[in-house]
Subunit: 201 residues, 2 copies
């Protein structure tokens, strides 16, 4: 099922790239997802690409969103209004797609009250009261490593159940909380490894 | 081998979190990497955690970096000096670790010449000449989706062999080029899926 969610994100990116149809072979080439696995996962839900044409990107996207029950809008809050937080608030995919960023928070007096795209930065000390209204269950952690654990705990206390963590630390959270880490270092390490094998060829 | 690169990024994050030792059970809990797989992968290289103590984070990190031949500094260029590009240039893990951001480029006249942390934004039209000196083979694409394909092609023409793509599109590149996509949408889709299963429990 987690693979399906990955497919969904990929299909949204394809739609942004104005790709209308995609074959499982192209999927494998572009993402590393195994073509046979992709076909098998989708056939399980009664989805079959047309031979010689492939899958319709928008149809498949809507279908997977329904299967995963994420076809409704999902409110998201961003914690940290620095460069990264601001980039996320303005990220076109997020603004137009199923995930709506409904609030951005910071602890820095100089950032509180500033506009970031169409949002105003709020004081993170008011997170609990504000999120009682916003009802976001997904929080993006975009603060420095030194603040990330405390901010994650605040987010959970304010009702977040899923955290997308950009800080380069490993968060300690209760078992019921889902965390995904975006680690630039991991990505660069993988690329670097591929470069080193390339040289050895 | 790609798993080892992922371990490396994770170990660097653990070091930033000031964790000194880690057991394979903790690894599984924090990252979802299977504990048995982790132990097996490392035992293959003669690394065994001490019973009841685990693995030394720094030792293991250095060891994996040597195995992957990424123990030397790797120069990296950032294409796009917007919020995301600026966040990456200042990302503490990157500044202090094995990946050195040596250049940041943009096409926008208003950004060219500006300081971003310790770097000055350069004109992306000079990418080829400048990278002939910088010799970066890893390029981070942090431009809007509409510019990403053209910028990726410029990066490859300037000698990049590995691309870390933050734009929400699927890049078309020659087979010899390695691409990793950081898709915020994929991450949010996975979190959203976990939330929906949580509700059904």
């Amino acid at each position: 099922m987690e693979r399906l969610a990955t497919y969904l994100g990929y299909l949204i990116d394809l739609e942004t790239s104005q790709v209308e149809t995609i074959s499982s072979t192209e999927v494998e080439k572009q993402t590393g997802i195994n073509a046979a696995q992709f076909r098998k996962d989708l056939s399980y839900f009664g989805e079959f690409g047309k031979p010689g044409v492939g899958y319709n990107v928008v149809d498949l996207q809507n279908r997977i969103a329904r299967i995963l029950k994420i076809d409704r809008d999902q409110p998201v809050i961003v914690l940290g209004a620095g460069n990264l937080g601001s980039a996320l608030v303005g990220y076109p995919g997020l603004r137009e797609q199923r995930f709506h960023i409904v609030g951005v928070f910071d602890a820095n007096e100089q950032k509180i009250g500033r506009r970031v795209w169409e949002l105003t930065v709020r004081d993170i000390r008011h997170l609990r009261e504000v999120n009682a209204q916003l009802m976001a269950r997904i929080a993006i952690i975009a603060v420095p490593a030194s603040a990330a654990q405390a901010v994650a705990e605040e987010a959970i206390a304010a009702g977040a159940r899923a955290l997308l963590n950009f800080a380069p630390i490993i968060l300690k959270v209760p078992d019921r909380i889902v965390v995904r880490n975006v680690s630039f270092l991991q990505e660069l390490a993988v690329l670097s490894y591929h470069l080193s094998t390339d040289t050895r060829k």
